[in-house]
Protein backbone atom coordinates (compact mmCIF):
# COMPACT_ATOMS: atom_id res chain seq x y z
CA UNK A 1 0.00 0.00 0.00
CA UNK A 2 1.14 3.55 -0.78
CA UNK A 3 0.19 6.44 1.45
CA UNK A 4 1.06 10.04 0.63
CA UNK A 5 0.67 12.52 3.51
CA UNK A 6 0.61 16.28 3.00
CA UNK A 7 3.19 16.08 0.23
CA UNK A 8 4.58 19.32 -1.20
CA UNK A 9 7.18 19.53 -3.97
CA UNK A 10 8.78 22.73 -5.25
CA UNK A 11 10.74 23.31 -8.45
CA UNK A 12 12.58 26.47 -7.44
CA UNK A 13 9.87 29.08 -6.89
CA UNK A 14 7.21 26.93 -8.55
CA UNK A 15 5.06 24.86 -6.19
CA UNK A 16 4.40 21.70 -8.19
CA UNK A 17 2.50 19.84 -5.42
CA UNK A 18 0.77 21.39 -2.42
CA UNK A 19 -0.22 19.26 0.57
CA UNK A 20 -1.28 16.30 -1.52
CA UNK A 21 -2.83 13.29 0.24
CA UNK A 22 -3.44 9.95 -1.42
CA UNK A 23 -3.94 6.35 -0.43
CA UNK A 24 -3.62 3.48 -2.90
CA UNK A 25 -4.42 -0.07 -1.84
CA UNK A 26 -3.49 -3.51 -3.17
CA UNK A 27 -5.74 -5.03 -5.83
CA UNK A 28 -7.08 -1.61 -6.80
CA UNK A 29 -6.29 0.88 -9.54
CA UNK A 30 -6.09 4.44 -8.24
CA UNK A 31 -6.32 6.99 -11.05
CA UNK A 32 -4.59 10.36 -10.74
CA UNK A 33 -6.28 12.73 -13.15
CA UNK A 34 -5.91 16.34 -14.19
CA UNK A 35 -4.80 18.64 -16.97
CA UNK A 36 -1.24 19.35 -18.12
CA UNK A 37 0.80 20.89 -15.31
CA UNK A 38 -1.53 19.58 -12.58
CA UNK A 39 1.40 17.78 -10.88
CA UNK A 40 0.51 14.18 -11.80
CA UNK A 41 3.97 13.22 -13.07
CA UNK A 42 5.63 15.03 -10.17
CA UNK A 43 3.58 12.95 -7.74
CA UNK A 44 4.87 9.70 -9.29
CA UNK A 45 8.42 11.05 -9.44
CA UNK A 46 8.24 11.94 -5.75
CA UNK A 47 7.03 8.42 -4.86
CA UNK A 48 9.96 6.97 -6.85
CA UNK A 49 12.49 9.29 -5.24
CA UNK A 50 13.32 11.09 -8.49
CA UNK A 51 12.36 14.41 -6.91
CA UNK A 52 12.88 15.35 -3.29
CA UNK A 53 9.77 16.52 -1.43
CA UNK A 54 9.79 19.92 0.21
CA UNK A 55 7.60 18.59 3.00
CA UNK A 56 5.26 15.73 3.79
CA UNK A 57 5.78 11.98 3.79
CA UNK A 58 5.34 8.92 1.58
CA UNK A 59 4.95 5.42 2.98
CA UNK A 60 5.15 2.00 1.36
CA UNK A 61 3.28 -0.37 3.66
CA UNK A 62 4.34 1.70 6.68
CA UNK A 63 7.97 2.23 5.58
CA UNK A 64 8.89 5.87 4.87
CA UNK A 65 10.14 6.49 1.31
CA UNK A 66 11.04 10.17 1.39
CA UNK A 67 14.80 10.62 0.86
CA UNK A 68 15.34 6.93 0.04
CA UNK A 69 17.41 6.58 -3.17
CA UNK A 70 15.40 5.76 -6.32
CA UNK A 71 17.20 2.44 -6.89
CA UNK A 72 16.39 1.35 -3.34
CA UNK A 73 12.73 2.31 -3.71
CA UNK A 74 12.67 0.15 -6.84
CA UNK A 75 14.29 -2.71 -4.91
CA UNK A 76 11.60 -2.32 -2.21
CA UNK A 77 8.99 -3.26 -4.83
CA UNK A 78 7.91 -0.04 -6.50
CA UNK A 79 7.94 -0.26 -10.31
CA UNK A 80 7.61 2.99 -12.21
CA UNK A 81 6.83 3.10 -15.94
CA UNK A 82 7.74 6.70 -16.74
CA UNK A 83 6.10 9.06 -19.20
CA UNK A 84 7.36 8.14 -22.68
CA UNK A 85 7.79 4.53 -21.44
CA UNK A 86 11.54 4.67 -20.80
CA UNK A 87 12.30 1.77 -23.11
CA UNK A 88 16.03 1.79 -23.90
CA UNK A 89 16.11 1.80 -27.69
CA UNK A 90 19.73 0.73 -28.05
CA UNK A 91 19.05 -2.52 -26.15
CA UNK A 92 17.09 -5.51 -27.40
CA UNK A 93 13.66 -6.45 -26.05
CA UNK A 94 15.19 -9.25 -23.99
CA UNK A 95 17.98 -7.04 -22.64
CA UNK A 96 15.39 -4.49 -21.50
CA UNK A 97 13.46 -7.26 -19.76
CA UNK A 98 16.58 -8.72 -18.15
CA UNK A 99 17.46 -5.27 -16.87
CA UNK A 100 14.09 -5.11 -15.15
CA UNK A 101 14.79 -8.37 -13.32
CA UNK A 102 18.44 -7.83 -12.37
CA UNK A 103 17.88 -5.97 -9.13
CA UNK A 104 15.21 -8.37 -7.89
CA UNK A 105 15.44 -11.89 -6.54
CA UNK A 106 13.35 -13.44 -9.33
CA UNK A 107 14.75 -16.17 -11.52
CA UNK A 108 15.43 -14.34 -14.79
CA UNK A 109 14.62 -17.28 -17.09
CA UNK A 110 11.30 -17.91 -15.34
CA UNK A 111 10.53 -14.20 -15.30
CA UNK A 112 11.18 -13.92 -19.04
CA UNK A 113 8.98 -16.91 -19.74
CA UNK A 114 6.14 -15.45 -17.65
CA UNK A 115 6.32 -12.11 -19.46
CA UNK A 116 6.48 -13.75 -22.91
CA UNK A 117 3.38 -15.74 -21.95
CA UNK A 118 1.60 -12.56 -20.85
CA UNK A 119 2.78 -10.51 -23.87
CA UNK A 120 3.43 -13.00 -26.72
CA UNK A 121 4.47 -10.30 -29.19
CA UNK A 122 7.50 -9.56 -27.01
CA UNK A 123 8.58 -13.18 -27.26
CA UNK A 124 8.43 -12.95 -31.05
CA UNK A 125 10.60 -9.85 -30.99
CA UNK A 126 12.96 -10.74 -28.17
CA UNK A 127 16.12 -10.23 -30.26
CA UNK A 128 14.93 -7.00 -31.92
CA UNK A 129 16.31 -3.65 -30.87
CA UNK A 130 13.65 -1.58 -29.16
CA UNK A 131 14.10 1.30 -31.56
CA UNK A 132 12.22 -0.85 -34.11
CA UNK A 133 9.11 -1.42 -31.94
CA UNK A 134 5.76 0.29 -32.43
CA UNK A 135 4.23 2.51 -29.73
CA UNK A 136 1.95 -0.27 -28.50
CA UNK A 137 4.79 -2.80 -28.39
CA UNK A 138 6.95 -0.36 -26.47
CA UNK A 139 4.19 0.13 -23.92
CA UNK A 140 3.84 -3.63 -23.52
CA UNK A 141 7.60 -3.93 -23.08
CA UNK A 142 7.63 -1.15 -20.49
CA UNK A 143 4.84 -2.93 -18.57
CA UNK A 144 6.54 -6.33 -18.84
CA UNK A 145 9.87 -4.85 -17.73
CA UNK A 146 8.16 -3.36 -14.68
CA UNK A 147 6.27 -6.56 -13.87
CA UNK A 148 9.15 -9.02 -14.30
CA UNK A 149 10.56 -8.02 -10.89
CA UNK A 150 7.20 -8.93 -9.30
CA UNK A 151 6.64 -5.51 -7.73
CA UNK A 152 4.07 -4.66 -5.05
CA UNK A 153 3.33 -1.25 -6.52
CA UNK A 154 3.02 -0.24 -10.17
CA UNK A 155 3.21 3.43 -11.08
CA UNK A 156 2.04 4.13 -14.64
CA UNK A 157 2.58 7.57 -16.16
CA UNK A 158 0.35 8.26 -19.17
CA UNK A 159 0.48 4.72 -20.61
CA UNK A 160 -2.09 5.59 -23.30
CA UNK A 161 -0.06 8.50 -24.70
CA UNK A 162 0.32 8.15 -28.47
CA UNK A 163 -1.63 4.90 -28.72
CA UNK A 164 -4.60 4.22 -31.00
CA UNK A 165 -7.97 4.06 -29.17
CA UNK A 166 -8.29 0.29 -29.67
CA UNK A 167 -4.76 -0.35 -28.36
CA UNK A 168 -5.50 1.94 -25.39
CA UNK A 169 -8.67 0.00 -24.57
CA UNK A 170 -6.75 -3.30 -24.65
CA UNK A 171 -4.01 -1.82 -22.49
CA UNK A 172 -6.47 -0.57 -19.88
CA UNK A 173 -8.07 -4.01 -19.68
CA UNK A 174 -4.62 -5.58 -19.22
CA UNK A 175 -3.80 -3.11 -16.41
CA UNK A 176 -7.00 -3.96 -14.58
CA UNK A 177 -6.61 -7.72 -14.93
CA UNK A 178 -2.94 -7.60 -13.79
CA UNK A 179 -3.89 -5.44 -10.82
CA UNK A 180 -6.60 -7.79 -9.67
CA UNK A 181 -4.85 -11.08 -10.42
CA UNK A 182 -1.54 -10.10 -8.79
CA UNK A 183 -3.04 -7.94 -6.05
CA UNK A 184 -0.93 -5.02 -7.26
CA UNK A 185 -1.25 -1.49 -5.97
CA UNK A 186 -1.60 0.50 -9.20
CA UNK A 187 -1.38 4.26 -9.43
CA UNK A 188 -2.41 5.29 -12.92
CA UNK A 189 -1.65 8.82 -14.09
CA UNK A 190 -3.72 9.69 -17.14
CA UNK A 191 -4.96 12.62 -19.20
CA UNK A 192 -7.35 10.18 -20.82
CA UNK A 193 -9.76 10.49 -17.88
CA UNK A 194 -12.55 8.55 -19.54
CA UNK A 195 -10.46 5.45 -20.19
CA UNK A 196 -8.78 5.62 -16.79
CA UNK A 197 -12.03 6.02 -14.82
CA UNK A 198 -13.50 3.05 -16.63
CA UNK A 199 -10.97 0.65 -15.04
CA UNK A 200 -10.12 2.47 -11.80
CA UNK A 201 -11.53 1.77 -8.36
CA UNK A 202 -10.49 5.08 -6.82
CA UNK A 203 -9.49 8.41 -8.28
CA UNK A 204 -7.82 11.66 -7.29
CA UNK A 205 -8.16 14.86 -9.32
CA UNK A 206 -5.25 17.30 -9.23
CA UNK A 207 -5.38 20.92 -10.32
CA UNK A 208 -2.31 23.18 -10.17
CA UNK A 209 -0.66 20.87 -7.64
CA UNK A 210 -3.64 20.57 -5.28
CA UNK A 211 -6.11 17.75 -4.78
CA UNK A 212 -9.51 19.14 -5.79
CA UNK A 213 -11.42 15.86 -5.45
CA UNK A 214 -10.86 12.29 -4.33
CA UNK A 215 -13.10 9.29 -3.86
CA UNK A 216 -14.30 6.27 -5.69
CA UNK A 217 -13.89 6.33 -9.47
CA UNK A 218 -17.66 6.02 -9.83
CA UNK A 219 -18.24 9.12 -7.70
CA UNK A 220 -15.68 11.16 -9.60
CA UNK A 221 -17.09 10.01 -12.93
CA UNK A 222 -20.58 11.00 -11.85
CA UNK A 223 -19.65 14.51 -10.67
CA UNK A 224 -20.75 16.82 -13.46
CA UNK A 225 -18.61 19.81 -12.31
CA UNK A 226 -15.46 17.72 -12.08
CA UNK A 227 -16.15 16.25 -15.50
CA UNK A 228 -16.72 19.66 -17.03
CA UNK A 229 -14.08 21.84 -15.34
CA UNK A 230 -11.20 19.51 -14.49
CA UNK A 231 -11.43 16.40 -16.66
CA UNK A 232 -12.57 17.84 -19.97
CA UNK A 233 -15.33 15.25 -20.24
CA UNK A 234 -18.04 17.53 -21.57
CA UNK A 235 -20.83 15.78 -23.37
CA UNK A 236 -22.96 18.28 -25.25
Amino acid sequence: MIRVDDLSVNYGAVRALRNVNLEATPGKVTAVLGANGAGKTTLLRAISGLVTPHSGAIFLGGEPLARVATENISRMGVAHVPEGRGVIEELTVEENLRLGALASKVNIAEGLEAQYAQFPVLGDRRRKYCGTLSGGERQMLAMARALIAQPKVLLLDEPSLGLAPQVTAELMKTILSLCESKSLTVILVEQNAKGALRISHDAVVLHLGKVVASGSAAEIAADEDLRRYYLGLVEE
Binding site: S48, L50, A69, T70, E71, N72, S74, R75, A79, H80, P82, G86, I88, E90, L91, E95, R98, L99, G100, L102, A103, S104, R145, A149
Partner: protein, 298 residues
Protein backbone atom coordinates in the same frame (compact mmCIF):
# COMPACT_ATOMS: atom_id res chain seq x y z
CA UNK B 1 55.81 -16.53 -49.18
CA UNK B 2 59.01 -15.44 -47.47
CA UNK B 3 59.52 -12.53 -49.88
CA UNK B 4 55.90 -11.50 -49.25
CA UNK B 5 56.46 -11.44 -45.46
CA UNK B 6 59.63 -9.42 -45.79
CA UNK B 7 58.19 -6.96 -48.32
CA UNK B 8 58.11 -3.34 -47.25
CA UNK B 9 54.30 -3.36 -47.52
CA UNK B 10 53.94 -6.22 -45.01
CA UNK B 11 56.58 -4.78 -42.71
CA UNK B 12 54.75 -1.49 -42.63
CA UNK B 13 51.49 -3.31 -41.91
CA UNK B 14 53.11 -5.20 -39.00
CA UNK B 15 54.59 -1.99 -37.61
CA UNK B 16 51.31 -0.14 -38.01
CA UNK B 17 49.31 -2.89 -36.31
CA UNK B 18 51.74 -3.10 -33.39
CA UNK B 19 51.41 0.62 -32.75
CA UNK B 20 47.73 0.65 -33.67
CA UNK B 21 46.67 -1.84 -31.00
CA UNK B 22 48.14 0.43 -28.31
CA UNK B 23 46.20 3.37 -29.74
CA UNK B 24 43.10 1.15 -29.86
CA UNK B 25 43.42 0.32 -26.17
CA UNK B 26 43.81 3.99 -25.22
CA UNK B 27 40.89 4.92 -27.47
CA UNK B 28 38.78 2.12 -25.97
CA UNK B 29 39.54 3.35 -22.46
CA UNK B 30 38.45 6.87 -23.47
CA UNK B 31 35.26 5.58 -25.07
CA UNK B 32 34.29 3.55 -21.96
CA UNK B 33 34.47 6.69 -19.82
CA UNK B 34 32.81 8.87 -22.46
CA UNK B 35 29.94 6.42 -22.82
CA UNK B 36 29.29 6.14 -19.12
CA UNK B 37 29.91 9.66 -17.88
CA UNK B 38 30.34 11.93 -20.93
CA UNK B 39 33.70 13.07 -19.62
CA UNK B 40 36.81 13.27 -21.79
CA UNK B 41 39.53 12.09 -19.47
CA UNK B 42 42.61 14.04 -20.50
CA UNK B 43 44.56 12.48 -17.63
CA UNK B 44 43.89 8.93 -18.90
CA UNK B 45 47.44 8.43 -20.22
CA UNK B 46 49.10 9.90 -17.15
CA UNK B 47 46.95 7.83 -14.79
CA UNK B 48 47.92 4.67 -16.69
CA UNK B 49 51.58 5.69 -16.64
CA UNK B 50 51.48 6.24 -12.86
CA UNK B 51 49.85 2.84 -12.29
CA UNK B 52 52.53 1.27 -14.48
CA UNK B 53 55.26 2.91 -12.39
CA UNK B 54 53.73 1.58 -9.17
CA UNK B 55 53.34 -1.93 -10.58
CA UNK B 56 56.30 -2.43 -12.86
CA UNK B 57 58.95 -0.94 -10.56
CA UNK B 58 58.23 -3.87 -8.23
CA UNK B 59 60.41 -5.86 -10.65
CA UNK B 60 63.31 -4.11 -8.86
CA UNK B 61 62.13 -5.83 -5.67
CA UNK B 62 62.16 -9.21 -7.31
CA UNK B 63 58.50 -9.52 -8.24
CA UNK B 64 57.76 -11.58 -11.36
CA UNK B 65 56.90 -9.61 -14.57
CA UNK B 66 53.38 -11.02 -14.78
CA UNK B 67 52.53 -10.19 -11.18
CA UNK B 68 53.78 -6.68 -11.87
CA UNK B 69 51.39 -6.46 -14.84
CA UNK B 70 48.50 -7.61 -12.63
CA UNK B 71 49.54 -5.12 -9.93
CA UNK B 72 49.71 -2.28 -12.50
CA UNK B 73 46.21 -3.04 -13.74
CA UNK B 74 44.82 -3.30 -10.19
CA UNK B 75 46.46 -0.02 -9.15
CA UNK B 76 45.15 1.58 -12.35
CA UNK B 77 41.62 0.40 -11.62
CA UNK B 78 41.70 1.64 -8.03
CA UNK B 79 43.15 4.94 -9.21
CA UNK B 80 40.38 5.25 -11.82
CA UNK B 81 37.64 4.48 -9.29
CA UNK B 82 39.06 6.91 -6.74
CA UNK B 83 39.38 9.65 -9.39
CA UNK B 84 35.72 9.27 -10.32
CA UNK B 85 34.57 9.36 -6.70
CA UNK B 86 36.75 12.26 -5.57
CA UNK B 87 37.30 14.50 -8.60
CA UNK B 88 34.52 13.77 -11.08
CA UNK B 89 31.39 12.95 -9.08
CA UNK B 90 31.07 16.48 -7.60
CA UNK B 91 31.13 17.79 -11.20
CA UNK B 92 28.15 15.83 -12.59
CA UNK B 93 25.49 18.26 -13.78
CA UNK B 94 28.02 21.10 -13.97
CA UNK B 95 29.22 22.67 -17.28
CA UNK B 96 31.03 20.15 -19.50
CA UNK B 97 34.22 22.21 -19.47
CA UNK B 98 34.69 21.70 -15.69
CA UNK B 99 35.80 18.03 -15.74
CA UNK B 100 38.02 18.74 -18.75
CA UNK B 101 39.83 21.53 -16.91
CA UNK B 102 40.12 19.41 -13.76
CA UNK B 103 41.56 16.43 -15.65
CA UNK B 104 44.05 18.56 -17.60
CA UNK B 105 45.24 19.95 -14.26
CA UNK B 106 45.33 16.45 -12.80
CA UNK B 107 47.51 15.30 -15.72
CA UNK B 108 50.12 17.90 -14.74
CA UNK B 109 49.94 16.90 -11.08
CA UNK B 110 50.38 13.19 -11.84
CA UNK B 111 53.39 13.76 -14.11
CA UNK B 112 55.01 16.09 -11.55
CA UNK B 113 54.46 13.65 -8.68
CA UNK B 114 55.80 10.75 -10.80
CA UNK B 115 58.91 12.73 -11.69
CA UNK B 116 59.34 13.61 -8.01
CA UNK B 117 59.19 9.98 -6.93
CA UNK B 118 60.94 8.14 -9.78
CA UNK B 119 62.81 10.95 -11.66
CA UNK B 120 62.36 11.57 -15.38
CA UNK B 121 65.00 9.07 -16.51
CA UNK B 122 63.63 6.34 -18.73
CA UNK B 123 63.56 2.85 -17.19
CA UNK B 124 63.75 -0.35 -19.15
CA UNK B 125 61.13 -2.93 -18.27
CA UNK B 126 62.35 -6.34 -19.36
CA UNK B 127 59.43 -8.20 -20.92
CA UNK B 128 59.69 -11.99 -20.93
CA UNK B 129 59.66 -11.97 -24.76
CA UNK B 130 62.45 -11.22 -27.18
CA UNK B 131 62.27 -7.93 -29.06
CA UNK B 132 64.54 -9.18 -31.81
CA UNK B 133 62.79 -9.33 -35.20
CA UNK B 134 62.23 -12.65 -36.94
CA UNK B 135 64.11 -13.39 -40.15
CA UNK B 136 62.79 -15.07 -43.23
CA UNK B 137 65.12 -16.06 -46.05
CA UNK B 138 67.83 -13.89 -44.52
CA UNK B 139 65.62 -10.79 -44.52
CA UNK B 140 63.96 -9.11 -41.57
CA UNK B 141 60.25 -9.51 -40.86
CA UNK B 142 59.18 -6.60 -38.65
CA UNK B 143 57.61 -8.92 -36.11
CA UNK B 144 59.18 -10.06 -32.86
CA UNK B 145 57.88 -12.38 -30.14
CA UNK B 146 57.19 -9.22 -28.09
CA UNK B 147 55.15 -7.60 -30.88
CA UNK B 148 53.11 -10.79 -31.28
CA UNK B 149 52.53 -10.82 -27.50
CA UNK B 150 51.56 -7.14 -27.67
CA UNK B 151 48.99 -7.75 -30.41
CA UNK B 152 47.57 -10.91 -28.77
CA UNK B 153 47.28 -9.22 -25.35
CA UNK B 154 45.57 -6.13 -26.82
CA UNK B 155 43.13 -8.21 -28.87
CA UNK B 156 42.38 -10.41 -25.84
CA UNK B 157 41.65 -7.36 -23.69
CA UNK B 158 39.38 -5.88 -26.36
CA UNK B 159 37.48 -9.16 -26.68
CA UNK B 160 37.13 -9.46 -22.90
CA UNK B 161 35.75 -5.93 -22.67
CA UNK B 162 33.34 -6.63 -25.55
CA UNK B 163 32.16 -9.88 -23.93
CA UNK B 164 31.75 -8.18 -20.57
CA UNK B 165 29.59 -5.42 -22.03
CA UNK B 166 27.59 -7.72 -24.30
CA UNK B 167 26.95 -10.82 -22.23
CA UNK B 168 27.21 -10.15 -18.51
CA UNK B 169 24.79 -8.71 -15.96
CA UNK B 170 27.40 -6.11 -15.06
CA UNK B 171 27.81 -5.15 -18.73
CA UNK B 172 24.06 -4.75 -19.19
CA UNK B 173 23.86 -2.52 -16.12
CA UNK B 174 26.87 -0.49 -17.31
CA UNK B 175 25.25 0.04 -20.72
CA UNK B 176 21.88 0.94 -19.23
CA UNK B 177 23.48 3.39 -16.79
CA UNK B 178 25.24 5.10 -19.67
CA UNK B 179 22.29 5.10 -22.07
CA UNK B 180 19.46 6.02 -19.70
CA UNK B 181 20.59 6.68 -16.14
CA UNK B 182 17.16 7.68 -14.83
CA UNK B 183 15.45 4.61 -16.27
CA UNK B 184 18.26 2.42 -14.93
CA UNK B 185 17.71 3.88 -11.44
CA UNK B 186 13.97 3.20 -11.73
CA UNK B 187 14.84 -0.43 -12.43
CA UNK B 188 16.99 -0.69 -9.31
CA UNK B 189 20.41 -0.33 -10.96
CA UNK B 190 22.92 1.37 -8.66
CA UNK B 191 23.98 3.89 -11.30
CA UNK B 192 26.61 5.71 -9.23
CA UNK B 193 28.33 2.41 -8.54
CA UNK B 194 28.21 1.60 -12.27
CA UNK B 195 29.86 4.93 -13.10
CA UNK B 196 32.69 4.15 -10.68
CA UNK B 197 33.07 0.67 -12.17
CA UNK B 198 33.11 2.23 -15.68
CA UNK B 199 36.03 4.44 -14.65
CA UNK B 200 37.79 1.47 -13.07
CA UNK B 201 37.42 -0.62 -16.23
CA UNK B 202 38.59 2.23 -18.40
CA UNK B 203 41.64 2.86 -16.24
CA UNK B 204 42.43 -0.88 -16.23
CA UNK B 205 42.38 -0.97 -20.05
CA UNK B 206 44.53 2.17 -20.17
CA UNK B 207 47.03 0.55 -17.80
CA UNK B 208 47.43 -2.43 -20.12
CA UNK B 209 48.31 -0.01 -22.94
CA UNK B 210 50.85 1.70 -20.68
CA UNK B 211 52.39 -1.62 -19.59
CA UNK B 212 52.80 -2.70 -23.23
CA UNK B 213 54.35 0.64 -24.13
CA UNK B 214 56.69 0.61 -21.15
CA UNK B 215 57.81 -2.95 -21.94
CA UNK B 216 58.77 -1.87 -25.48
CA UNK B 217 61.92 -0.21 -26.70
CA UNK B 218 61.22 3.29 -25.31
CA UNK B 219 60.84 2.17 -21.70
CA UNK B 220 58.97 3.92 -18.93
CA UNK B 221 59.25 7.66 -18.21
CA UNK B 222 56.75 10.19 -16.78
CA UNK B 223 55.60 11.59 -20.12
CA UNK B 224 55.75 8.36 -22.14
CA UNK B 225 51.97 8.18 -22.55
CA UNK B 226 51.52 11.78 -23.76
CA UNK B 227 52.04 11.08 -27.46
CA UNK B 228 50.11 7.80 -27.26
CA UNK B 229 47.25 9.57 -25.52
CA UNK B 230 47.02 12.15 -28.33
CA UNK B 231 47.01 9.36 -30.96
CA UNK B 232 44.46 7.38 -28.92
CA UNK B 233 42.29 10.46 -28.60
CA UNK B 234 42.45 11.02 -32.37
CA UNK B 235 41.61 7.32 -32.87
CA UNK B 236 38.55 7.63 -30.61
CA UNK B 237 37.39 10.75 -32.48
CA UNK B 238 37.93 9.06 -35.86
CA UNK B 239 36.04 5.92 -34.82
CA UNK B 240 33.37 7.82 -32.91
CA UNK B 241 33.42 8.49 -29.17
CA UNK B 242 30.24 6.46 -28.69
CA UNK B 243 31.57 3.33 -30.36
CA UNK B 244 33.94 0.75 -28.78
CA UNK B 245 34.27 -0.92 -32.19
CA UNK B 246 35.06 2.48 -33.65
CA UNK B 247 37.77 3.01 -31.01
CA UNK B 248 39.48 -0.23 -32.00
CA UNK B 249 39.17 0.45 -35.73
CA UNK B 250 40.25 4.07 -35.23
CA UNK B 251 43.38 2.95 -33.36
CA UNK B 252 44.36 0.56 -36.15
CA UNK B 253 43.67 3.20 -38.83
CA UNK B 254 45.84 5.79 -37.04
CA UNK B 255 48.61 3.25 -36.34
CA UNK B 256 48.76 2.13 -39.96
CA UNK B 257 48.55 5.69 -41.31
CA UNK B 258 51.40 6.86 -39.11
CA UNK B 259 53.52 3.88 -40.16
CA UNK B 260 52.93 4.47 -43.88
CA UNK B 261 53.61 8.21 -43.58
CA UNK B 262 56.79 7.35 -41.68
CA UNK B 263 57.90 4.87 -44.33
CA UNK B 264 56.94 6.71 -47.50
CA UNK B 265 57.23 10.34 -46.45
CA UNK B 266 59.28 11.18 -43.37
CA UNK B 267 59.50 9.97 -39.74
CA UNK B 268 59.28 13.55 -38.53
CA UNK B 269 55.82 14.05 -40.00
CA UNK B 270 54.41 10.62 -38.99
CA UNK B 271 52.09 12.06 -36.27
CA UNK B 272 50.72 14.40 -38.94
CA UNK B 273 49.22 11.37 -40.70
CA UNK B 274 46.77 10.85 -37.86
CA UNK B 275 45.77 14.50 -37.91
CA UNK B 276 45.12 14.39 -41.65
CA UNK B 277 42.91 11.32 -41.21
CA UNK B 278 41.08 13.06 -38.34
CA UNK B 279 40.36 16.20 -40.37
CA UNK B 280 39.27 14.16 -43.41
CA UNK B 281 36.93 11.92 -41.38
CA UNK B 282 35.39 14.75 -39.37
CA UNK B 283 34.66 16.70 -42.56
CA UNK B 284 32.62 13.77 -43.87
CA UNK B 285 31.30 12.25 -40.65
CA UNK B 286 31.48 14.79 -37.79
CA UNK B 287 30.56 12.18 -35.15
CA UNK B 288 33.16 9.65 -36.33
CA UNK B 289 33.01 6.68 -38.68
CA UNK B 290 31.14 4.23 -36.45
CA UNK B 291 28.77 6.50 -34.53
CA UNK B 292 25.17 6.26 -35.61
CA UNK B 293 23.97 9.60 -36.97
CA UNK B 294 22.21 11.70 -34.38
CA UNK B 295 18.82 13.19 -35.08
CA UNK B 296 17.56 16.20 -33.20
CA UNK B 297 13.97 17.36 -32.87
CA UNK B 298 13.66 21.03 -33.84
Amino acid sequence: MSSFLTSSLMNNIFGGLAQGVIYSLVALSLVIIWQSTHVLNFAQGAMAMFATYVGMTQIDRGLNYWWCVVLSVCVGMLFGGATERVLIRPLYGKPEINPIVVMVGFLGVIEAVTTGIWTSTSRNIAAPFSQIYFKSGGKLVLLSPFIIFQIILAVAIMMLVALLFRYTRLGLQLRASALAPEVARLLGVRVNRMLTIGWMLSAGVGSIAAVILASGSFGLFPTNMDGVFVAGFIAAAVGGLDSPVGAIAGGLIIGLTEQFVLAYWSPSVAPLGGMIVLVAVLMVRPHGIFTKSVSRRV
